[in-house]
Symmetry: D2
């Protein structure tokens, strides 16, 4: 049997059973022979808990796949075929800082949108580029599949600074199409749509139901509130019907952080007082999940897992890996360098859009000009992202300040300065690239 080795960095994550479940279900199509879970020393306990559940799941499924647990990343990477990453440098404690610091200044405190995304990128990009360096040595032809947030920004960093083949993936678009399917009472597979934007900043049009254009109808459903443009991990504050109708596009729920910024900040401040930020609540959920996982009788993905946002990640990831492995030429939504897909963004900017996936990678579908009604927002967030990548790679504080100043949700240079100072102070241990 031909070896097919998959490595997941950040394997101790509570999401891992989703991935295992995906590899088990698709085994006929994607016959993984070795599956390696890697985590850092500080995550060893979680790695053991999650890894043993994984082993029980595989055993029950009765497939010829071995599950390996290790804190030696290089051992795992040796001759790998696919490397998935789902790391959280600084763990949930760092995320909670990411959220609370901007909120001190009345600015959105969110994991990936706003200053939080900047800070997460600063911690994460150096680690991912280190992994890429190892891969160049140990498995230079392997694919890196990033589930790690902020997915678009980290993918741009890798595309610009490493020769390793990589794709950034996110379940957001899948979620949107699932919501369309629910609205019409059809299977997810009956729905396709054209997606354009940046990670967590995407819009759909050309929504097809079994190939028939249902875009205008679905937009009207959304406007009337009978559509369900909700992601589980985004508070449910609705966009007004007249705005939806004017926009004529289906926005990902994360767009509310931009379109209803003032309301979302107030909402977060309220949350912080009552029960904590999303990061704090995630911490509780993760503890609860790990308790469940410890049960030696459990040998499948527990239902509770899906109560945490991101349940479609597994499906998204496994189907994309399979499309590469099997040279399927399927169309998926991924994060890839623009390379002319739209002339309204730089060629080397990473965008999230539809692409044909084959053995050579992702080939985005030409899109043309962005509609003016979303163009400015996408372009201004992309400028923030480019500066964020530059800061993360160089540790240049000018670039860092300019990144925050350029974020559309940061209301002044002086507030940007305060947030940056607090962020750097709180993250010294995770920022080798910065001079302190």
């Amino acid at each position: 049997m031909k070896k097919l080795k998959v490595v997941t960095i950040g394997g101790g994550s509570g999401y891992t059973p989703e991935l295992i479940d995906g590899f088990i279900k698709r085994h006929a199509d994607l016959p993984v022979t070795e599956y390696w879970l890697v985590d850092i020393e500080a995550g060893r306990e979680k790695l053991e808990i999650v890894g043993q559940l994984a082993q029980r799941m595989v055993k029950k499924a009765g497939i010829p796949m071995t599950v390996h647990l290790t804190t030696d990343r290089r051992e795992a990477l040796k001759d790998a075929d696919f490397v998935t990453t789902q790391i959280r440098v600084g763990q949930l404690a760092a995320r909670i800082n990411d959220e609370k610091i901007p909120l001190k200044y009345g600015v959105l405190g969110q994991e990936t949108t706003g200053p939080g995304g900047f800070m997460k990128a600063q911690r994460t990009i150096p680690v991912l580029l280190d992994i890429c360096k190892d891969m160049e040595e140990l498995c230079p032809d392997a694919w890196m599949i990033n589930f790690t947030n902020p997915a678009g920004i980290v993918t741009e960093a890798i595309a610009k600074y490493s020769p390793i083949k990589s794709l950034g993936i996110c379940s957001g678009a899948n979620n949107m199409m699932m919501d369309v399917a629910k609205a019409y009472g059809v299977e997810r597979s009956a729905v396709t749509a054209r997606i354009m934007g940046l990670n967590h900043l995407i819009f759909a049009d050309r929504i097809l139901l079994n190939g028939n254009d249902t875009t205008a109808d679905f937009i009207e459903k959304l406007a009337q509130g009978t559509g369900t443009n909700k992601l589980k991990n985004v508070p449910d504050i609705g966009l007004s019907p007249d705005f939806i109708r004017a926009l004529k596009l289906y926005p990902l729920s994360y767009l509310k952080y931009f379109y209803l910024n003032r309301e979302m900040v107030e909402h977060e401040l309220e949350d912080q007082k009552n029960g904590g930020t999303r990061g704090e609540r995630s911490l509780e959920i993760e503890h609860a999940l790990l308790e469940l996982y410890k049960n030696p009788e459990l040998c499948e993905k527990p239902a509770e897992l899906s109560s945490r946002g991101g349940a479609l990640y597994s499906d998204t990831a496994c189907s994309i890996i399979s499309s590469i492995y099997n040279n399927k030429h399927e169309v998926h939504v991924v994060n890839v360098p623009n390379q002319g897909t739209t002339p309204d963004l730089p060629d080397d900017a990473v965008i999230e859009t539809n692409a044909v996936i084959d053995k050579l990678g992702a080939h985005p579908l030409a899109y043309g000009r962005l509609p003016v009604r979303i163009r400015g927002l996408i372009q201004s967030v992309k400028a923030f992202e480019e500066l964020t990548v530059e800061a993360a790679v160089t540790g240049n504080t000018d670039a860092a300040l300019l990144a925050l100043v350029n974020h559309p949700l940061v209301p002044s240079v002086d507030i940007a300065r305060h947030i940056l100072n607090d962020y750097l102070a709180a993250n010294r241990d995770f920022l080798p690239q910065y001079a302190f």
Copy 2:
């Protein structure tokens, strides 16, 4: 059973049995219920011969498809779902003029490349735009699939001047991939490649054999002459090995008209003396085919048909129509407006490239910059094509002269003038748009 009505304009063509054969083979997938063959009064005899063969073929296949023959185009178009065109305004006699007139001046005389393509476009575009006008009235949602040459130029005219949905198709890319398959002794389906260029001016790279990149290896095969970059309807004059290696791309055989222009012109002049131009030989082949078709015992596509270039047309056409009809999201090579696929050509220029085909049409894969080693040729032929479309739609003789002057194979303004004058004189009956 749901109606699925397909109309073929120019149905009396000798190629039609190929198409019929394709629709019969794919009937499970593409259940055509009515198939209409349309031709002009002058082609009635051919229409009868070909149409009766079609009817015998369908009868033998035992599928629920009716075959209709008519010279009333509007009757046929009523409520059609797909309209394919394979017209030859002025018939082969006009083609022979197209070839002989440039040769008088020592300039390439070829059906689609060089001045011949210009002249064919002048006759053809007004007729196709007329058909589009009828379609707007009688079947506004139908797709027009053009097999009519020059396929890229006429598709550009329709895309610019008509709201009718259309695609231009050609078997060239399919032929190239078939040759790759032959070179490796594999099935055609094992081969994919990335194609870029203009109709009859395409280049392949990223040639995959079961998903593995075999581009460099195949280029070397081509250079060593063990590859088979031959199209049946193009004389076999080889490109030199060192040029193939320098080019690092797999060119369609038609490229010889550019890369070996002087030799090809000499070859054509020789042909003209001995046995006639390709048009003259086609005339003989067509007569022979029609004689075969008359045989009332014949109820399948005769083997002799494939001796005429273009045998893969049928497969190309039927699989693309099926991909639209069934919303398959397959990747095919088609002629579509550039719309940013490459920034090196205008957005509204029609190019020939890989596209995902679904119910909404063709969505080309973003390509980025053209390699400099083919960029200039593609751009200069595109300028010729744009001016050719402008002349064909307006009948403006300035545009016509500029089109010919801009063709890279026309060696002077004065020769362009002579060819244009002779062409206009010989084609008065087919040029309603020009003032005489």
Copy 3:
């Protein structure tokens, strides 16, 4: 003597004596023979006061120029050579509404930046396009020179919707270069700079002092606060030195509305409580100026005029008109369609940048890519501007809502909706294009 007829629409403006002064000083170079001041009936009293001062100024100067006062716009436009506009539809009362309504919602209330610019454009563009229509009939070859704010947006509307030749001008860049001159103790003429951006959103680099590059030095002066990046009509709240150093560009003072948005809104709210908005204070200044102008002994531009922002307008306008009239090929900063000057904005977007001015108009200098540190802001404001133009021309409330939502200083869709509703209610009399 050859006729040279200049018309100023909005001639009753308190600024007019600046213009008159400019035409008098440049009479040798730009021999205006007829100067027409036009105003609406409601402005007749101001027109008389200002116009009589103008007549006294010309008389004192002893030049052969006649000054005409009229409320008949068409009489004035007949055979004009240059038409300058400085209109304020709804007068200062409308401006005060423009400022106060956003402030109700905690959003910047400013004449041209933020929602105020949107609203002013909605009132102004229909009137300017009406003037253009008259010009097509009465003086089709005349140039329209717009001093009317928002200068970039109205120029874009005219460029997109009228064949009349027009330029938008603003004294902002001149002010910046004057400040450089002051910082170095040299004449204004010793300073040149490269300017890029949108009206009231420009940045300078390549700052030359007698041809020598002093950019880095001046940026450091700015950072150290010894430079004077102040416009008289913008509150003096400084940008932090580290931001100036990171930006490495010299921003127009109006950029503070973006870079210090939160502080500027607080400042405006304070102003509103103590002594009124800028519009309210302008009302007082205008009254005082008109009182001065009434003095029949006054026959020159009073010194008090320059206490109101915009004193360099006259010099900017007259030198540009002279450069056109005399085919001088001088370089000036103007508002013109992009047409490829930077690929980061649409070709038909109006930008403010350096251009060679000759008899055919303004020819901007190719700029290339925008620096990423200002790119996103410029692109997002341009998207707002495009939608603002669309709304102003069509009266489409979807476009109007999308324009406000796209402004980077508007923090939510719902606030955009409130501002729009209040604005439309307050401006019904000036919005013939909207359905009420």
Copy 4:
């Protein structure tokens, strides 16, 4: 007195007295204090003859400028302010080969257009890049002004491969405007025009006579043959009136090599039989000029000099140097990197167009899309030029072959191969970059 040191490499050229004459006439404006003429050892005799004439001319003019003659390039370059180049590697003997070899194969044999330009670039670019290397060390802030042909190609090589500031200049545009002036009986200074294209491949529109648009009128003059679109060094074979009217642009005479290629080749073959190629005739003219220069009584530019094409070079060069030196912001036609001037060519492609010249260099005026009627030709020649630069810098024979194949005047790959082989064999001594 402030030092102003100008160096001319290739100072022994027969053109040098033109340059000296220019510097003398402009001395008030451009007070050159040291003028150095440099040549190679093989050119020492010519350098002495020309240099002594130069010294006599300066002496007669009575200006404080010293003229130095040397074969030590590095001595001359030390602390230079401007370096002009007018070199001819391999001298006229090499040019004659450049012409004769293509003619053997029935292909245009011309100094700069066609294969000749390719070959001249291969010899010249390595030498110019060597000079740039010396300049980096000895005068890193100096400007290099290239009169050396092929001016566009060599300027592209320097812009891509050296940090030295450089401009490529040519008298072609000046000649065109002089011809306009003659056609209207006005001074050269009364004429301006917009120029776009590549060196020796330019087109004019927006032709202004004292600021008034006379384009259409002049085109008609050209068509009627009363205009004088002749350059002294291009044979006078006229373009047909209907083509000129269709083109609606004023082409440089060199365009005849493209628009009348077949006729020009025949003309050259005839010339070769009767009296020799242009290079052979130039050799005679040069001998004659040097004989004249030897006359110790001669102390001004002899009238015979202008009988050789290029008499306006001096004026072009000196006025551009003065515009840089004096920060004049004048508009001149120069060869500069495109950088977005037209989106139809790569950003780093050198084009010939109008630019504002100041102390920082040349700032081209944004042009926008190229007209389709000249776009393809310009783009295809540019592809040839890019490949020519690549070959000249790397000595890669694949690039060299592709360059020749891509030239629109080379009719086949096999002929390209023959020309390349003959060229390389004939130029071995001048091609250090190629492996033999």
